[in-house]
Amino acid sequence: MSTIHAPGPLARLRTDFPILGRRINGKRLVYLDSAATAQKPQAVLDALDDYYKEHNANVHRGVYTLAEEATAAYEEARAKTARFINAPSPREVIFTRSTTEATNLVAHAWGRSTLTAGDIIVLTHMEHHANVVPWHMLAAERGVQLRWIPLTPDGHLDLTDLPRLLEGAKLLGVTAVSNVLGTINDIAPLAEAAHAAGALVLVDAAQAAPHLTIDVTALGADFLAFSGHKMLGPTGIGALWARRELLEAMPPFLGGGEMITDVRLDGFTPTELPWKFEAGTPPIAEAVGLGAAIDYLQGVGMDAVRAHELSLTAYALSSLVERFGDRFRVHGPADPAERSGVVSFEFADVHPHDIAQVLDSEGVCVRAGHHCAKPLMRVLGVAATARASFYVYNDEDDVDALGDALTSVEKMFC
């Protein structure tokens, strides 16, 4: 497979990402939307290229050399993914298309085989739609009841009523990091409380896996879902990790090729883990690309990734508040240590779409909208927010460019 370029110190990582050499509207590209999707380093692009140029074949089928190479590359990516989250076994890692497909897999295969009318699922007000809508669908179909953990005014989970909310619950679905507030949730004690109440724990790690060290065992999770494209990998690849005994007991999700040991006229026998949950030709190149992204992140070191983002977020919060005073208002925890590099903000009463539009004219990419978290938008009492989010390739110049562009917003609208 392709050689993985050894990443340099974080200050120089920007040059590893070819797209960041682009100019937008004549300006240096300042990409501050990594919470939506991350840019890709050359090493990931090379891995995709190399796979298609040198090894492309379908997996788990052919006996010829290419098929064996493709299968080995695909399964090596699974092993890397398992190690990345400290999973006890690669057999517990199911490749999916995305976090969304992973949560839907849990709702379909575990939810529909386990839950009946009146069963309780506990979610939080800060969940992404990916961890809300599958449960609404199950509620409509099965009469499952949803309960919600509310938020404190500073954007943390309000655990005052946790024991009552968890009473009789079958599942706690919770995000490890809010994609809007940036709040880092302390999953381990939540999982302990859920288990004590007899509930399983599904962790949405879409915003956590790219930025923090994930250890599924230490978290005490039962299911954990994340996406490749937010962690420097390609789109179209995600993963569901789950405890082996749960996966063994669950019926398959999608049916088709690859996921069977036998198919007869009167039925079928599913195959073993993890392929039981991977019907059809999987996203092979994308998995290989995810493996390369994991290599890259581990080359940098997840502790270094977190330290970099923490320092950048602290700089952003302090410098922008210093510059704009209370015209720049941040949603979520005030202490950078309690949040990821996601910064949703209100700016001088200008609509987020107008903020994002003017910022784009300065080459600055931020997200404007509800961030697929409409229940949270209602709690915050806003229709939309503007959101800047940082990753390994951002630096203080990017934060300063955001500040300069916000000055242009003020000139236009205030």
Partner: protein
């Protein structure tokens, strides 16, 4: 590449800063029409008084606008209110059609209701006036939905009126 000045023309910013016809009308007799842009959460509430008894046929005798949204949706709704107030329903429909054509002729072709009519045909005999300032929005495709929210909401309301009258 389109510049910001194409989007944020001075007259648009003026309508955004000082929106016309803001407020509510008593319901009934006014109709309350609500529109929603799920992409950005913008919402619009129109209060429309339709007078069926004018010599020219049904006419929009009064309109008030509520809701919240970005500068483009706010300005577009304000400009629409000023443009349709006092117009007959038939004239308003023609204006809506002309405005949507101004926003995106391709859209109507895709939906198959344009029959290849070009912008000139849609606009024939229609005076857009200040509304033409919104033409720059077309260069920013994501924002077209912001500009058309109020117009689609009004169009839907007038169509409901028509179907009620027919039934």
């Amino acid at each position: 590449m389109a510049g910001l000045e194409d989007l944020y023309r001075e007259i648009i910013l003026d309508h955004y800063r000082s929106p016309r016809n803001r407020g509510e009308l008593p319901v009934p007799p006014a109709r309350k029409l609500e529109g929603f842009n799920p992409l950005c959460g913008d919402e619009i509430v129109l209060y429309v008084d339709v007078d069926d008894g004018t010599p020219e046929g049904a006419a929009i005798s009064d309109i008030r606008i509520g809701g919240q949204g970005c500068s483009i949706s706010q300005a577009s709704s304000s400009m629409m209110g000023a443009a349709v107030r006092g117009k007959t329903v038939a004239e308003a429909r023609k204006l809506i059609r002309a405005f949507k054509a101004l926003m995106s002729i391709h859209e109507s072709r895709l939906e198959g209701d344009g029959d290849g009519e070009d912008l000139a045909a849609e606009l024939e005999g229609v005076k857009l006036g200040d509304l033409e300032a919104l033409q720059g929005v077309v260069k920013f495709p994501v924002r077209i939905k912001c500009a058309t929210l109020a117009w689609n909401t009004l169009a839907q309301g007038l169509d409901e009126d028509a179907s009620e009258a027919a039934s």
